[in-house]
């Protein structure tokens, strides 16, 4: 290994270095204090970043946590392929909870609009119980949404998985209090303080591999509620909606029924960073139908146990 040239002042000042060190500190605290942590992993850029940071936190030892994917079945094949390759490359165990299984045995009912994003909460909570996970890492960031801005880095959930924003523990210095009773668990958000632009800049700096759908590509899409949706088992196009070939990319990866693509020709990280810098819409506002439902859509889902 070659040593770094030591800078004049070794204290961490660069924003990305500071954020990386903070995230690594959080991973190590949880590894030290919890028995059965798990990383919630969708194959999206934020959870891919989580895994990258976890690798850096424990190298040269392996990441001491498995991965959990709550699979709505409304996927992009590129993302599932990416997910499986990443887990195999790092030697990580991957648990998959298929929403379809919950629908098949009647524990969940398909929604009339075909969206399965809200249906992820029950399989998530059931999987947490089944595997007795006591700390669940998620890629939530406080800059995404107003309710998330009030979220703690380590956030207690009761036996029903509920978040109570009015009785959160104060979070002081970098001393995290993860104590919980049997049956309770914590959600951990190591990239709480990152912005969307930080994520992209860091992905570029570190050469982190992402699923190809984050880069501009030609895809048959149709217009619904001001978003470009791809054809799929979730229904559509219907009525007057029609498929057109467009150059698009995804800013978030979620359930295919409610995650839209944005028109884009950005096919490199430099171009994506320019596009994100110039963008006049938040990533959730641009591409997530589930957050447009009401002013408090995210708060309500978080209270019920969603991420």
């Amino acid at each position: 290994m070659t040593a770094f040239v030591s800078p004049a002042a070794p204290a961490v000042r660069d924003a990305l270095d500071a954020l990386e060190s903070e995230s690594i500190h959080i991973f190590r605290e949880v590894a030290g204090e919890f028995d059965r942590p798990v990383i919630l992993f969708s194959g999206g850029k934020d959870s891919t970043l989580l895994v990258h940071l976890a690798v850096k936190a424990f190298a040269p030892a392996p990441v001491p946590f498995p991965l959990l994917h709550v699979d709505t079945g409304h996927n992009y094949p590129e993302v599932i392929d990416f997910r499986d390759r990443l887990a195999a490359r790092l030697g990580l165990r991957l648990h998959v909870a298929h929403v379809q299984d919950w629908i098949d045995d009647g524990r969940l009912t398909e929604r009339p609009d075909g969206t399965r994003n809200p249906l992820q909460t029950v399989p998530l909570l059931d999987s947490i119980n089944e595997h007795r996970f006591d700390a669940v890492f998620g890629g939530g960031r406080r800059d995404e949404e107003r309710a998330r801005a009030k979220e703690r880095i380590i956030s207690l959930r009761d036996a029903f998985g509920r978040w109570d924003p009015r009785s959160q523990r104060p979070e002081l210095w970098n001393l995290y209090n993860g104590r919980h009773a049997a049956g309770e668990h914590v959600r951990v958000f190591p990239i709480s303080n990152w912005t969307e632009l930080d994520v992209w800049r860091y992905i570029q700096r570190e050469g982190v591999e992402l699923p190809s759908i984050y880069y501009a590509h030609q895809r048959e899409v149709f217009r619904r509620d001001g978003m470009w949706l791809a054809e799929g088992p979730w229904g559509g196009p219907r009525g007057a909606e029609s498929l057109e070939l467009r150059s698009v990319r995804y800013r978030t990866v979620g359930d295919g029924s409610c995650t839209g693509a944005v028109e884009s020709t950005a096919s490199t990280l430099d171009q994506i960073i320019d596009e994100v810098t110039a963008s006049r819409l938040t990533e959730r506002g641009a591409t997530r139908a589930d957050d447009r439902l009401s002013e408090a859509a995210m708060e309500d889902r978080k209270r019920e146990g969603y991420f």
Binding site: V12, S21, R146, R148, K150, P165, R166, L175
Partner: protein, 435 residues
């Protein structure tokens, strides 16, 4: 180009317009995007307002929007070409001590707001005292609503003078304090320099935030690092790691975040509370070894001697080690609704170690309204700040909070519920001068 990071907090009393100031900072730095502005405009119209209410950008929870108040600390993010900002926006009225202490605990700078029509009020003193207690390195007084006093130089100079005296009386050095007259509503001196305050030759608020030096006292203090986790890949390494790292069968590294000072290979260190002395063999990261790692960096340290070290131990500079003991004199900020009495048995988290603690005698209480220490109370109730004697089950290596924040701070935790009861500061970090 590398951008650095400034963590800062805002504090102010109920009607000083803090949410509007924060909204203005976000809005004028173009950190608010079109869909967020539309949502705010829609909500403002729904509430019967004629101009967008920028405070709606920051009040995140349903109850806050319904009641028009800020309940909990909210974190905000914005950036300029030279610096990124993490802003802890702390509410001024509900649970003010709890929220101010939380926001200030990670802040390198605090912005305190007053209304130009009222000047320094009781709550300004209270906030200044709490920020001084928490040793926030730098302070800004934003005198807001200067449009409502006609941009009058004499009024604003008088407030600045009062504040300088207040800041000095709670221990802030003059050079750590900046006073800036602003109007959050009209935008004067927040991001854009106002043409209506020609007599003011200082920086705008954003200009100051962008240019203020951010190095805290941790940078030059002696080296400290709590061990969070022991990395031993003996049972199996990260796939491919041996190609980069060499044979790992005997690798043993101590993972942690440098809390203060700098560590380099060859440094003499002591492992506490045990007291074994050894030498740093290497400072590793996943990207390769470092010649030196400074405050804030997460690293993995290898030592030359095979010593029994586990999570919770502290590695410190051998020549300037912290004291180790079970008797700790400290200042508590009591954050819980249930009161604290002498004799309570609680848990204490310090660095990466949690131990049992018995609360001894309660000492003097800080009366935050008069900013004076007064006679010991019978019990501490929510938002009280007081001295206390503690006895811990395990000896702890501690520094005075005034010297090193990271090794001088701790939490008190309620054993049955796991709730966080208090923020603890070793010693008494508040130095009051009469005046």
């Amino acid at each position: 180009m590398s951008r650095d990071l400034l963590r800062f907090a805002t504090a102010g009393s109920v009607d000083d317009g803090k949410s509007t100031l924060v909204g203005r900072l976000l809005y004028d730095t173009k950190s608010v995007l079109a869909d967020q502005i539309e949502a705010v405009e829609r909500a403002s119209v729904d509430k019967g307002m004629s101009t967008p209410d920028l405070s709606l950008l920051v009040d995140g929870l349903r109850a806050e929007r319904e009641q028009g108040i800020t309940i909990d600390v909210a974190y905000r993010y914005f950036g300029t070409p030279t610096r990124e900002f993490v802003l802890a926006d702390t509410p001024g009225h509900v649970q003010y001590t709890r929220n101010t202490v939380t926001g200030a605990s990670t802040a390198e700078l605090a912005v305190l707001l007053v209304d130009a029509r009222n000047g320094i009020v009781e709550q300004t003193r209270r906030h200044a005292a709490v920020l001084a207690l928490l040793r926030v390195p730098r302070l800004v007084l934003a005198i807001n609503k200067i449009d409502l006093v006609g941009y009058d130089e004499e009024t604003l100079t008088a407030i600045a003078k009062d504040f300088a005296a207040l800041a000095r009386s709670v221990g802030f050095a003059d050079e750590a304090v900046q006073v800036i007259p602003v109007s959050a509503l009209a935008g004067d001196n927040v991001v854009e320099r106002s043409t209506r305050t020609p007599w003011y030759d200082g920086p705008t608020l954003l200009g100051h935030l962008e240019s203020v030096p951010v190095a805290g006292p941790e940078v030059t203090a002696p080296f400290r690092m709590p061990v969070q986790y022991v990395i031993r890949p003996r049972a199996g390494a990260l796939p491919g790691a041996e190609e980069r790292w060499g044979p790992l069968h005997d690798y043993r590294g101590y993972a942690g975040q440098v809390a203060s000072g700098t560590v380099s290979p060859g440094d003499e260190v002591v492992v506490l509370p045990g007291g074994a002395r050894t030498t740093v063999a290497g400072v590793d990261t996943a990207d390769g070894p470092l010649d030196a790692a400074g405050a804030g960096r997460s690293v993995t340290i290898r030592l030359t001697d095979d010593i029994d070290i586990s999570r919770g131990d502290l590695i410190a500079a051998a020549g300037a080690a912290p004291r180790v003991g079970s008797e700790i004199e400290a200042t508590l900020c009591w954050l819980a609704d249930k009161p604290l009495r002498a004799g309570a048995r609680l848990l204490l988290k310090h660095g990466a170690r949690t131990t049992q603690v018995i609360v001894g005698a309660l000492g003097e209480r800080l009366d935050v309204d008069s900013v004076r220490f007064v006679d010991p109370p019978e019990a501490l109730t929510v938002n009280d700040i007081a001295m206390v004697s503690l006895r811990t089950a395990d000896p702890l290596p501690v520094d005075d909070y005034a010297d090193i924040r990271a090794t001088g701070s701790f939490l008190l935790i309620d054993p049955p519920t796991g709730g966080t009861l208090a923020a603890g500061l070793v010693g008494n970090p508040l130095t009051l001068t009469s005046g």
